[in-house]
């Protein structure tokens, strides 16, 4: 479940179809000839992909991408491989991938059927679960206790519709309030304008950890929805995608994933040395054990 406030990507489908190249792997050729690659990154998706200031980028997905690119560099027998970082937003990441501005995107993009028509996705390494954050002393433990309460969520995310469906299905009524972005939604919870914040677990955990008093908040209740978040690669470049997946398989096999999880989700991270504190979910563990690029729709059927 990722925010994409303004998805214009559909519009670009028409004229990118003509740009399909028939070379073995345009991306690998480009890397070989230029000795450089452009990585799409996010600016404030802690801890997945964010800036630590001054055009430096880091995060769970960013570090995995650097490892993948290291592997590809060795495979292509390159001495050095320069990585250019290109900040992207929910609105422009798909078009920028389609027109070749970025070669690999390491952010927080949900792998779903609609997007898979425009871009490719590497095997999933992170499965997102939509949860509820509340004040620790609120006594709320489940979504059923939110009837008639103020529930915050972020404009332009699928959580808004998720809440609406839940209201309809269970005959309850939430008093919804909408933040412009996740930080604003969390501010609504912090300032008491909302009793709960419904959003992706990593976003909730990141915002709680980043707040002034993280102990005042907790993530509670059942998982409301599950979605795979994946590294995005160009479509129509199966060879590059295979190289990325091979590198991912190697990282998983070497037992690096638990270490990476520990580093980004359970240990202090820059710039403020906060600890996100999100435990590894069975769904994510399962994705590591059974490499796949299933879209979000397959997860909903369960």
């Amino acid at each position: 479940m990722k925010t994409h406030l303004l998805r214009f990507s559909l519009l670009f489908v028409g004229f990118t179809a003509a740009q399909t190249l028939y070379a073995a792997s345009p991306t690998l050729d480009k890397i070989k000839s230029s000795g450089a690659i452009t990585m799409g990154v996010r600016e404030s998706s802690i801890p997945m992909s964010y800036t630590t200031g001054d055009s430096r980028f880091d995060g769970y997905h960013v570090e995995i991408c650097r490892m993948i690119l290291g592997d590809i560099k060795d495979k292509l027998k390159l001495g050095t491989l320069r990585i250019n970082y290109q900040p992207v937003t929910s609105q422009n990441r798909v078009p920028l991938m389609q027109n070749g501005t970025i070669d690999i995107e390491c952010g927080t993009t949900t792998n779903n059927v609609a997007r898979a028509k425009d871009v490719g996705f590497a095997n999933t390494l992170y499965v997102e679960e939509v949860r509820i954050a509340v004040k620790a002393n609120s006594g709320i433990n489940s979504i059923s206790q939110l009837a008639g309460k103020k529930v915050a969520t972020t404009t332009g995310t699928t959580s808004v519709q998720l809440l609406r469906k839940h209201e309809k299905a269970n005959g309850v009524n939430f008093d919804e309030v909408f933040g412009k972005d996740h930080a604003d939604s969390f501010l609504l919870l912090e300032s008491g304008r909302a009793d709960a914040f419904v959003m992706d677990g990593s976003i909730l955990a990141g915002n709680i950890a980043n707040s002034k008093n993280p102990k005042d908040y907790k993530i509670v209740g059942e998982v409301l929805s599950t979605e795979p978040i994946a590294i995005m690669v160009p479509k129509n470049d199966p060879e590059f995608k295979a190289a990325v997946n091979e590198a991912i398989a190697k990282i998983v096999k070497n037992g690096n994933m638990p270490k990476l999880w520990n580093k980004w989700f359970l240990s202090p991270i820059p710039p403020k040395n906060i600890v996100v504190g999100l435990e590894l979910s069975p769904a994510t563990k399962n994705a590591w054990a059974n490499p796949n690029d299933k879209p979000a729709e397959d997860y909903q059927k369960k």
Binding site: T51, T89, Q91, L96, T101, D181, A183, N210, S211
Partner: protein, 222 residues
């Protein structure tokens, strides 16, 4: 109760998050002002030409731009420009083109008012001397009109500088975005909004002081 904590705010944070946004906002303001004045003057001349084939398109363009919220214009251009040129463009370039096109409509109204502020007798006198429309505008009307318009231009530029904060809609990195990202990554949104307000105020207030100085200097007294 809210307690403010500004300790996180230091020079390093300024140079690594805010400066980039400030530079973009200033650059966008300068380019859009210059571009807007050039295109706005053309639009104003079209509207004042008295020829229906020029008047109506210009009037339509100006009225359309003036009745749509800037956020919507920014979004539309982000959507339409790629359709026209056949490939997506970056948020920064899209924002620049949008602001030039949008501000042209506003500057054209200022230019039109400026031209109309020149006494009609001047235009008639020039006509009587046998000047063409172009000569009349270039040599008689526009030099006086622009002089009258300078303070209004600058006021519009200050508004424009504030409006650059709306490019958040397409994800361009402006001054407000710089503050927001710093606030998010340091978990201090309230403090950064206050700092942002303070920064904008200082910049815009100083500029409006300058405008007032210039106003008293260049005014044509009749």
């Amino acid at each position: 109760m809210l307690s403010l904590d500004l300790s996180f705010y230091n020079w390093e944070l300024f140079t690594s998050y805010i400066l980039k946004g400030l530079l973009f906002s200033v650059q966008l303001t300068v380019i859009a002002t210059l571009g807007g004045i050039v295109f706005g003057t053309f639009l104003a001349l079209m509207r004042l030409s008295g020829k229906p084939t020029l008047v109506y398109p210009a009037t339509f363009y100006i009225n359309t731009m003036r009745s749509i919220p800037l956020v919507m214009v920014i979004l539309w251009f982000f959507l339409l420009i790629p359709m026209l040129i056949g490939r997506p463009i970056g948020a920064d370039l899209s924002a620049t083109i949008t602001f030039i096109a949008f501000e042209a409509a506003f500057f054209s109204e200022i230019v039109r008012a400026g031209i109309q502020s020149v006494p009609k007798g001047q235009a008639y006198a020039a006509e009587a001397l046998g000047m063409t429309y172009g000569q009349n505008m270039r040599l008689i009307i526009l030099p006086q009109a622009f002089r009258n318009m300078i303070p209004v231009f600058m006021t519009q530029t200050i508004i424009l500088f504030q409006d650059t904060s709306l490019v958040y809609a397409i994800g361009a990195y402006d001054l407000l975005k710089g503050f927001e990202i710093a606030g998010k990554n340091y978990g201090r949104p309230i403090e950064t909004y206050i700092l942002a307000a303070f920064t904008y105020f200082i910049i815009c207030f100083s500029l409006s002081k300058v405008v007032r100085k210039i106003h008293t200097k260049v005014a044509i007294i009749r």
